[in-house]
């Protein structure tokens, strides 16, 4: 078996780890699990992790993906870190509103606006 290709594009910008997704649809459970594991590794490698997850280009998201985001949020909080979400498509944002997760997460219109809120 070869190494599994990353499902994320990651870069560090002014001390913030900025994450984007390779996939347009974040639905498949195996992919979601891989995404969760990759982001968890990024969190583990930092003292007070600062994470921006940018959803640019993401068209579909399942409840399993929401679950993974909640787990990520819990891990970031446990390490006194900060998590921001940005560039969420309006139809996907509605899913956050229905599940009231828009109140749990710090969601910003654009990555630049989100980056400006890290302390």
């Amino acid at each position: 078996m070869g190494s599994v290709a990353s499902r994320l594009n990651v870069r560090v910008q002014n001390g913030v780890t900025r994450i984007e997704f390779v996939d347009r649809n974040i639905l498949d459970e195996t992919n979601i699990q891989q995404i969760g594991e990759e982001i968890s590794r990024l969190i583990e490698g930092q003292v007070n992790p600062k994470l921006l997850i940018c959803f640019k280009g993401v068209e579909h998201l399942s409840s399993a993906a929401l679950g993974t985001l909640i787990t990520i949020n819990n891990r970031v909080k446990a390490k006194d870190g900060q998590l921001r979400l940005s560039d969420i498509d309006p139809q996907i944002y509605e899913v956050f509103v229905i599940t009231k997760l828009n109140k749990l997460f710090h969601i910003h219109e654009t990555a630049d606006k989100a980056l400006a809120t890290f302390t």
């Binding site: 639905l27 498949d28 459970e29 195996t30 579909h60 399942s62 409840s63 399993a64 929401l66 679950g67 993974t68 909640i70 787990t71 949020n73 819990n74 139809q91 899913v95 229905i98 599940t99 009231k100 997760l101 109140k103 749990l104």
Partner: protein, 144 residues
């Protein structure tokens, strides 16, 4: 479905299939359904809603119903006509009572990573029910 029989049968798309592969089969179902919804003039919002509800319903059947047992399959039925889309998803599990799923929007549950699939199906579809003994999901979308 007797309540959907007001349109001529030849205008309806009816399909029954057995899903065995939890990764490869759902995208194929989605592709077929999307093309049928388009040809029955369902709009983009309808297609988005139905896609999300099917994604959740089929994933629940494989994950919670069949407990990811590769020997178990999921039965899928759909009927799409010019006014309605009806779907049934049946797993090989013992069934469950959706009333026992805690409200994920309650403050004490908001940080629990599971339990949002049924809520989303209910939000986007006009009817969502689990037929006795609770392993057959039935969902209806009425064209707006």
């Amino acid at each position: 479905m007797s309540d959907m029989s007001d349109l001529p049968e030849e205008k309806a798309f009816v399909q029954r299939r057995v899903l065995r592969d939890s990764e490869k089969d759902p995208p194929q179902v989605q592709q077929d359904i999307e093309s049928q919804l388009k040809s029955h003039d369902f709009d983009k919002d309808a297609m988005w809603a139905i896609r999300l509800a099917l994604e959740e319903g089929i994933a629940n059947a494989f994950t919670h119903g069949n407990k990811r047992d590769p020997k178990k399959s999921v039965e899928f039925y759909c009927r799409i006509d010019n006014t309605h889309a009806v779907f049934e998803v049946c797993d090989e599990g013992a069934g469950f009572d959706p009333g026992t799923v805690p409200d994920p929007t309650d403050e004490e549950n908001i940080e629990i990573p599971s339990g949002r699939g049924i809520m989303l199906m209910r939000a986007y579809m006009d009817e969502v029910s689990y037929l006795t003994p609770g392993n057959r999901l039935r969902m209806v979308y009425r064209k707006k």
